[in-house]
Amino acid sequence: MEDMIFYDRLQFAFTITFHYIFPQLTMGLSLMIVYFKWKFLRNKIEKYNNAAKFFMKIFAVNFTMGVITGIPMEFQFGTNWAKFSELTGGIIGQTLAMEGTFSFFLESSFLALFIFGEKLMGQKLHFLTGFLVFLGSWGSGYFILATNAWMQHPVGYEILDNGTYVLENFSALFKNPWLLPTFLHNQMASLITSAFVVASIGAFYILRNKNKEYGKLFLKTGVVFGFTASVLVAFPTGDWNAKNVAKYQPASFAAMEGIFETEPKGAEIVLIGQPNMVEKKLDNKIAVPNILSFLTYQEWDRQILGMDKFKKEELPDNIPALYYAYHIMVGLGTIFIGIMGLSAFFLWRKKLYTIKPLLWGIMFLVPFPYIANLTGWYVAELGRQPYLVYGLLKTSDGISPTVSSGNTLFTLLGFVALYMLLGLLFLVLVGKTIHQGPKPQKH
């Protein structure tokens, strides 16, 4: 039983982590493509149109990966989490089905039109198809997050005698107080990813002294989007999320902030420290007193419950991972604001394109927004433990009763192998597109 749960969780974690590498770029990039296309409609400079089409090529490869890794996600609810699906399908099935019917359709139908139909449709309609692709991808994100929000903070349900959850109030699924903050935060975070990708391709072209015209455009756009999104991801959206966790999941809040002992008055904020699970304290701690209470409740002296106030069964089962994931996300967020702020400053002073170290920095920073996004999700998902549906359904009660751990291990290994291959091919193809570059500008 124990190892059945373990392999199911591992498989889900692995496949979703791989899946989420792709949608975060899709969602952010679609907005930036719409922006390029819109600029072109306004100023008719061919460069902007080519930029939109260039990123659409990267988008298309990325989208394909999102689709083929996304289908296993949907299947897995049934294959690996059958009991969970059976009990809650009447509720989360709603939002998942809406995602399939409304968003993926929009996205994939109009993506084909955007790619193949420019000459057929004229510029205005072409812009519209691009916009619909954007709408579709953000719509997917919204419905998926509505699903996840219900698992984090269940609302609008009723529990029958046999343990089944039935929907009692449909609109409550969308008025869930968990949903809006996560959606906004998540979308800003994916915008960061795309902004870094765009900026880093720009920096690469400038440093290679190739496609320089485009290099400057990409870098400038990336930095402006990147800076804005980095600020918004921390404040107000990140802050808002943190308040929600403190309110609705106090046990995971204590674990992610690393509060082992409840302090009588205001809680300190931990900047650095390693959780020591044996002695139940943080090693090498550097902390600033009272700040956490202030950030969370705007009261310096407000008490915040530590892990000592919760029963062991209510605490997340992997506290160090949760703690580190949270601090990595927040730490990276701070770094992004710093780097993008600095770049924005030099952009404004018209010096950015010549400052080599900064360009190198931007170029190599690409993996970090991905790391921040994934660790952010680990915070959310590990923090939800030991529940599948917070406070109601334990993770251990959600797995498929008939699928043995050997079978899951077999399929997990299969996914690992297949995804390695996919990842490699993806890199080759994106590399090739970047190498070919956008169409050189006509003079």
Binding site: E86, G93, A97, A112
Partner: protein
Amino acid sequence: MELFWYIIIATILTVFFILDGYDFGAGIIHLFFAKKEKDKEVITKSAGLFWDSNEVWLVAAGGTLFMAFPTFYASVFSGFYLPLIIVLWLIIFRAMGLEFRGQFSYQMWKDIWDKSFGISSLLLAFFFGVALGNIVRGVNLGAVENGVSVHEGHFFFLPLWNSDFSPLNETPGVIDWFTIIIGLISVVVLAIHGANWIVLKTKSSINEKLKTIVFRLNIVLLLLTILSVIVWLNINPNAFSNFVERPYLFVFPLVYLSGLIGLFFIKRLEKDIYSFILSTLLIIGGITASLASLFPVILPSTNNVNESLTIYNTAASEYGLSVALNWGIIGFILLFVYMIIQKRLMGGKIDDMDYGH
């Protein structure tokens, strides 16, 4: 309400097999009959331009099934765990074949992805047929051994096959000689459908030859169909009682038969679209006739201990089903509208269309 959602989901699934069916079929034809590079390229393109928006119907079917019949979704997806995951892998390989082939012009690169596309299409067509066969035949619900359920009555786990490959075994496997026949039927139907699609959408040099091939495949199909009915009556003498009780259900097998008969005249049809419509009838008729023979059961039980799953004992709550109808109707209208817009704009032969690389 249950009935309504059952019809909606069956419709989505059927549309999925009609649409994605032609690109599975194109893959099968590609694997066996396309020899010249130019033909290979246009055949890949005739599937590659459309597969992802076709696959969306699969996602929609999965999503709505999850929402409307959660118990069925949970039972079937965990019970057919291995074949389903293998289907997922095949879907990935097929998509890779379609998307990656055109990216580099080395012959070897193309050959690899051609095979990836062709073989996975073939296997997928086969497995989808096997899946239908399994649903019709039923499974050992609750994994009953010596009259006692090992699991809750609606859960089960199917091995890929059991030692005698027999559908008569108390715990049948995914693959037995009955489901193999249905799998083969599916391969042949989709190959015919794919061939018609290629003729319709491309100017490939094998178009004329494909008509002869469709004719021959149709003979095979006729034989297989007769065989499957005989075998099926042998396994389950009451298999067709639904049709006897409600004679109007005979429409569905008749749709299938009209497609089958019509295709024998393929060479005399004036427009290519007619033969495509006939193979579409095959798919519609095949799926609906199988479902109608079971109705209202959606997964028969092979033991006497646990009841079969029906649309009534696996459905979500009445309230959930009825609110979902509000968005569902809007959603499905939109689905069809998108599909029509897309097919309109990309109508005609696709040989000269830019593949975007």
